[in-house]
Subunit: 301 residues, 5 copies
């Protein structure tokens, strides 16, 4: 599919007109692109874009070649990938996922700025890909806060696994923004060569915006780590509590058991056994021991 | 509201005069700003400042656009946000919180320096936003010291949660200063373009001052981490203490209980039971065991 | 062995032709190289390449000298090493492992690009060395995921040692990519001097590709660390579980044992013993204690 | 107080002569400085130096303004602060602590270099402030080594608190050197403007020297962290030892107690009780159990 | 001692010839240097090199002054230190340890390169100091691997202290290489000024080589840390094992003891005691309890 940008309007066009017009965007599926020998020959584009695993931007003599590898929100492990070429005033996407077309249509159907160019389109396109990310990060932050509250409420089933999921998602986003920052800075470095000279550092603003998302993600990673540490600490505290109960029970009952066992001995010469106050004395002694233990525990632990 | 800066005095003025005068500051609510088509058109300002979530500074062809997102001290999670434009010798704020007006009035009512300019006003304004931050950080430091002392005094209820609150507040401040440093450096980079040429790097001094606040915050974060580690270590030490009590009690009473149980056996042929010194010997043996255990514990643990 | 590059064909040639032709590649064993006094003299190459332990690139007056030290995949601790010289339009390998020849043949037997040069050959050669690394890293990632699942399934024999193996392998790869990045950047810095002037930063693309592999490795290292921490945390949780069982058993049986021991005492004056409801009351009391303990445990732990 | 530097001699002088001479140093208390309207007016110095909390250097149009905030050795939490101005060939200190005067006198009473200047004086002054720091760091290192040895000797009362004190002191010194490095680099950047042109990077040497102190401090921080980790690990090891004792005692005595309790049962039909070898058999069985337990423990733990 | 470098030969000479010749090296003890007023005056060298604690390089107007502080391998805590001056084509060592002379003799007795210069000598000298370091690092790596294997073999006496020794040695080497890197880069920065202009960055190669040693050391530090963490984790695992034994013993014997104690009670009305199957039933019950416990443990722990 070919689009021309003219008089602040972006609309479909034929291939011939696309080639003649100043500013244009083209969209291919990878199958179509294999066929498009013409275009590839006339612009000398021949990068292989087999397996897209990163966001990257490579700078060649007459064009920039890039790929985007976008994590799908809430569908951890799933990613969307497509490739693109940037030449002077021309932009070519090779995409099998439909994502690029959806975004082109959304942008071209809206009101375009005065003096719209391919450069501005590329900026709008890149921004459209990260527009909702602040909200997604806020969602993840809420999830971590929920984890934090669940420690307080002592409802911590599967805490480690749920937290590991969150941390992996944050790592995925962090890595994505890190790659986008490099890509944005690469675009900024090549801005003058491919989009004509002007004073405005369009892609610098994009790169800074992505960097802010990245440092937001970093903040969330640190927050997750802190909550994890609180959880870890709480496990230790709870163990201490369990140990205290065990120690208290043992400390109270072992002495009492000894006393009971003691007067269960069958020695023929044990005067206490026949003493009339023997049994009451043992009862009194037991009570004293229990009270002493409780008092010691209150004081020491 | 429009302010002009003239003859080292900063006072309200009309829109027309504001436009004609050399140095001026304007303040809009976001509703007023929507209406101010005039100004926006004549200066070609059209950034969307919907949701302010960061401190940032973006550099456009004819102006700088920035937002400030200021954490409210002691009210964790609450923030104040406003936007601003910087053009040649002009400064426009869009603020719904009243904070900007309060600060403008405080600055303009004080004695102004000789040769006061918009540049100096912006510096004074930015400094007024962080003026009391050193004191706030000192307050947080005192809180951490209190936490440290509470470990010593063994009054550590909710230590983890109180510490997590402090660490989150420090993260918030750290992130804020990190963004302000970037903003200050951005202003410094553009200082010559928007405020005329001179030798003084006004915003460099601002950026350095914010960097000092940031590194103070970092010091506090490290301090908090160290206190947390001491707490963690103390939990382990206390567990050891509890374990020692348990082990001592068990080691003293299990042998004694065995002896008592032993002579509680009902064998018909147990010579010790009828031996006249049987019971005294058992008492002596028990005392020896207790003393031996205590001596061993003193020596080994 | 001598290869010339001419008319987009790379083929074996004689030493004399190799010296005369514009672009050429030579391959020696270290024994042959010792003998090749001629070449070494005419190009003044005299680096000692005794023990290859790093990937490195050293820049001399008339040539670059480098070594590659490549970790063999899946054979941890084994490495392959060779050395190379880069002069104007000439490339000399000194290799005893056969790896270089294998790669030269694979590249020269494929279809070469138009305008093939030594520079492009070196790029293709370096890329051929890392081509399958993304797959290897994916394999390691799968191993870590398996470790993670094995924690969930509580089948964690030798977890620490298996994880240590993975972490050491990741360190090895990380270090390797770190050295390759430096090497790639060194080639990029010297690109113009040794391969003629052009606009294309061939080795910049190589360096960026290696950097991406390195940051993939870093992501895996962080993932491994997170899984390790989950394992560590699970050990603590399991210990808590064991402690709870111990405490519950102790808390239930010590009181019951005390009761049993108590009425095993041989005092002549113990009215409960002859009371007709004595034994049933003890049974009832025991049941009450057990139920109370169970109820307490349900509630508190 | 006014000092002039002339003919390699530094001595007190009057204010008038101070102003006329090429190189001079002046020293005020902050009260005097408030009065010194003359000097402040003629040099246009008007920085507020209310609360000194950092070492810093700010660069203004005609002067540098700095403050020093020096940690007092061995008196943790106490600091000494003063301010200074640097103008062309002039140096003004504002100090209420007496430290500056002490150092000026020590320097001026010693033999001065040939061609002594204000620049060299400032260098000597700054060096005099850190001269003994290497020794102080060596003292702290000895303290950490003492902590390490005390773990070995198992005398670890208050280890955590003593270590926390050391770590806080190291953080304080680290922060101080970090600020001094910035200050030294700031001086180096402005060296040519305020002290005349020459080839010697005086303050670069100062900055490097401070950086070495800082990296020494960093080494000590890492050492302290390692000792802390050994302590932490020893706590775990000791807990294991305590647990082993508990387990051994329990494992030996519980079976013996069972045997004793078993033959304390009052069943009318227990043939063992009346068997003539019953009691000897029980004794033998008990010895076997004890030996078996000891043998198992030796083997397994 | 004075050495001249001429016609690719380096040999002893007199002081006068040394001064006249182009390239020369001189070696003093610190006592001799105190006397060598002549040389110090004619070259204006007057650095104080009292206490050598770092490797450093300071750049003065007409010379470079440096010190080396070299850790002795295998003799932890012992270091060798000496100072040196670099002037145009001249090199002066002040050394009391004999190390410099040993290295000078080794280098001068070997075959020297064509066109040997002081620059090349300094490079050879510096390389001779680190020549065997790769082997030393390999030795340390072997030590760490031994520690790792000792964990597997459960022979971990003094693990923490032996590991702390290794980590301190690695810190010492790391710090040393870090200082050498700075020194090498300092030499590279001043290469042109003191050794004449040429294209070869001799000291860049030295600095890179030291950097590789440093990053090797870093790799070993990370390896040591990983082994430490495995040890730490194993302590936790072993504690779990001890706990399980304790819990199993307790869980088996406490119920049995209760049964035995129960039928040791002296109630007059306990029908089980006189029941003919009473004792066999208790035996059966005990066996059932033991089997149930063992089955539960097998399943759950
Ligand atoms: Mg990452
Ligand atoms: Mg990257
Ligand atoms: Mg960046
Ligand atoms: Mg980046
Ligand atoms: Mg990069
Ligand atoms: Mg941490
Ligand atoms: Mg942060
Ligand atoms: Mg930032
Ligand atoms: Mg910054
Ligand atoms: Mg930044
Ligand atoms: Mg900065
Ligand atoms: Mg590494
Ligand atoms: Mg490196
Ligand atoms: Mg790099
Ligand atoms: Mg690198
Ligand atoms: Mg680099
Ligand atoms: Mg780089
Ligand atoms: Mg770790
Ligand atoms: Mg850790
Ligand atoms: Mg610090
Ligand atoms: Mg700083
Ligand atoms: Mg610096
Ligand atoms: Mg610094
Ligand atoms: Mg430095
Ligand atoms: Mg730590
Ligand atoms: Mg740790
Ligand atoms: Mg270090
Ligand atoms: Mg350094
Ligand atoms: Mg370096
Ligand atoms: Mg360096
Ligand atoms: Mg470098």
């Amino acid at each position: 599919m070919y689009y021309k940008i003219e008089n602040d309007i972006m609309e479909k066009t034929s291939m011939e007109e696309w080639e003649n017009k100043q500013d244009g965007v083209a969209l291919f599926t990878s199958a179509d692109w294999e066929q498009a020998v013409n275009i590839r020959a006339s612009y000398l584009l021949e990068q292989s874009h087999d397996n897209i695993r990163f966001c990257k931007l490579e700078s060649y003599a007459d064009f920039l070649f890039g790929t985007l590898h976008i994590p799908r929100k809430r569908e951890r492990n799933e990613n969307i990938g497509f490739a693109f070429y940037i030449m002077e005033n021309k932009l070519i996407f090779i995409d099998d996922t439909g994502l690029v077309q959806k975004n082109i249509e959304r942008i071209s159907s809206g009101k375009l700025r005065k003096g719209y160019t391919v450069e501005r389109f590329l900026y709008d396109f890149l921004i459209s890909l990260i527009e909702e990310d602040v909200l997604y990060l806020a969602e993840i932050e809420k999830d971590i806060t929920k984890m934090e509250e669940s420690i307080l409420a002592k409802e911590v089933d599967d805490f480690n696994y749920r937290m590991l999921r969150l941390k992996k998602e944050l790592s995925r986003m962090y890595r994505y923004y890190s790659q986008l920052t490099d890509l944005g800075e690469g675009l900024f470095d090549n801005e003058m060569d491919f989009f004509g000279k002007d004073d405005v550092a369009t892609f610098r603003i994009y790169a800074d915006r992505v960097t802010r998302l990245q440092s937001e993600t970093q903040v969330l990673r640190e927050y997750a780590m802190q909550v994890q540490e609180v959880y870890q600490s709480e496990i230790g505290i709870r163990q201490n509590d369990v140990m205290k109960v065990l120690t208290m029970v043992t400390t109270i009952f072992l002495p009492l058991s000894l006393i009971a066992g003691w007067y269960g001995m069958n020695f023929t010469h044990m005067p206490e056994l026949t003493w009339i106050y023997g049994y009451p004395m043992v009862i009194a002694l037991s009570i004293v021991i229990v009270l002493a233990c409780l008092w010691l525990f209150k004081k020491k632990m």
